[in-house]
């Protein structure tokens, strides 16, 4: 079944509260620290973006629901550092071994920050299976959803789209498959498509007959119709 983060279409959240365009980028100083510490730890190379998304998603639901955005980041980072063996539980309690860490030589330096951020981490890969679908073709988002490889694992197929009929809008190329990559099972690249769904195929009471939602979906999330 779903985790709490998979909230598209959920009822009961109340209004969106817009902010002024000139509101501060970081509402609190610790938000900026949380972002910077997380990015700097990512540069140690012990996990990938899919692993870190999954670490946030598998926070206990009660934590996910009550934590603010950057609280989720920092909690997931602490969990990930221990899960990957970078830190110990004793370290988090301030009772760990003193001295430099064996990964210290990989620490991100100020002078390389600009280059690392500019370089990014593209997800497209050569190879992988040939595209099965072409633009305009009708498809169905797989049902049931969920990770087909790992029980309770990471997936980027939102629950609200499962089983719905959509149409291939475009092929984005072949991209790393999160359901595999998040779990150390390899990048397993697959064709990635933008798929458009009529709102009326997704929701019982769509606002307008012509409205649509587009999702980026990997080939193995899709079945021909």
């Amino acid at each position: 079944m779903t985790r709490v983060h998979d909230m598209g279409g959920r009822f009961g959240d109340g209004p969106v509260l817009p902010e002024a365009e000139d509101a501060p980028v970081f509402a609190e100083d610790w938000h900026a620290r949380a972002l910077a510490v997380t990015l700097a730890c990512g540069a140690l190379g012990q996990w990938n973006i899919d692993t870190s998304r999954h670490a946030r998603e598998k926070l206990p639901p009660k934590d996910y629901a009550r934590f603010s955005y950057y609280e989720k980041w920092i909690a997931a980072l602490a969990d990930l550092l221990v899960e990957k063996g970078v830190l110990t539980r004793a370290d988090l309690q301030g009772k760990g071994a003193a001295g430099l860490h064996k990964l210290a030589e990989r620490a991100l330096k100020a002078e390389t920050v600009a280059g690392v951020l500019a370089k990014g981490g593209p997800a497209d890969r050569a190879g992988g299976p040939a595209p099965r679908f072409s633009p305009g073709q009708a498809v169905r988002a797989r049902i049931p959803g969920g990770n087909a490889l790992v029980d309770g694992g990471h997936t980027r197929l939102p629950q609200y789209a499962t089983g719905a009929r959509g149409y291939i809008l475009r092929l984005h190329g072949t991209h790393v498959f999160p359901d595999s990559s998040a779990h150390g099972l390899g990048e397993a690249p697959e064709p990635l498509y933008a798929v458009r769904f009529f709102a009326r195929a997704l929701w019982a009471h769509p606002e307008h007959p012509d409205d649509e939602v587009v999702l980026d979906l990997w080939q193995s999330y899709l079945e021909p119709l």
Partner: protein
């Protein structure tokens, strides 16, 4: 679920979020795993160097230069890379154009994916549960909360960023902006108009 733990390590850190970050930062710094100067550089980058002004320049150029716009809509990545707007969370950009027939709007229902090199760090509402939950199911009600009302002949297309592809909305060029240069046009482009929860400002509004 094999990877779950009932006693998550994060609970070992102080419960107050500011103290929790501080504690983790201190531990990592002592071990040489993070460099405080690098943290300052990251913060400075997203606080002062990268923000919606980047996207606004791209939109203004697209409004002024039909060849640039055509190239941007056809394949944004090389065009943006040439302008220096390539990077983390913007590796695979797609630009979608608003018209009288179609209004585009962007959300990430699973987390808060956002085109950082063009718009910077997302605003709080973009990361909120309410926006993530509702933008796909009732975009017109959400737009109304931003003060935007669309005519009935305009269909809404909501882009849910489920992969590493990031979307930028090219808003409609406002009426009365005919004689303006790129810099003046960029001043009409709001962050929200490039997410699709707002429209570009009219020339009179920009001065206000």
């Amino acid at each position: 679920m094999p990877h779950d733990h009932h006693d998550h390590p994060h609970a070992l850190l102080p419960p107050d979020p500011a103290l929790r970050v501080k504690a983790l930062e201190t531990i990592l710094t002592e071990k040489g795993l993070i460099d405080p100067a690098a943290l300052e550089e990251i913060i400075d980058t997203y606080q002062n160097k990268i923000g919606p002004q980047n996207g606004a320049r791209v939109v203004a150029r697209a409004w002024s230069d039909p060849a640039f716009k055509a190239a941007l809509l056809a394949d944004a990545d090389p065009v943006l890379a040439e302008l220096g707007y390539y990077g983390r969370q913007g590796e695979h950009m797609v630009v979608v154009e608003n018209t009288a027939q179609r209004h585009n709007m962007v959300v990430c229902t699973l987390c808060s994916c956002y085109p950082w090199p063009l718009l910077g760090i997302p605003p709080g509402w973009y990361k909120s549960d309410a926006y993530r939950a509702r933008a796909v199911r009732e975009p017109r009600k959400v737009l109304a909360e931003f003060g935007v009302a669309l005519p009935d002949e305009t269909a809404v297309r909501v882009w849910d960023s489920t992969a590493e592809v990031r979307y930028l909305v090219l808003p409609m060029r406002p009426e009365g902006s005919g004689g303006l240069g790129e810099e003046e046009l960029a001043a009409l482009v709001t962050r929200d108009s490039m997410i699709g929860t707002g429209l570009a400002k009219a020339p009179g509004e920009a001065a206000a």
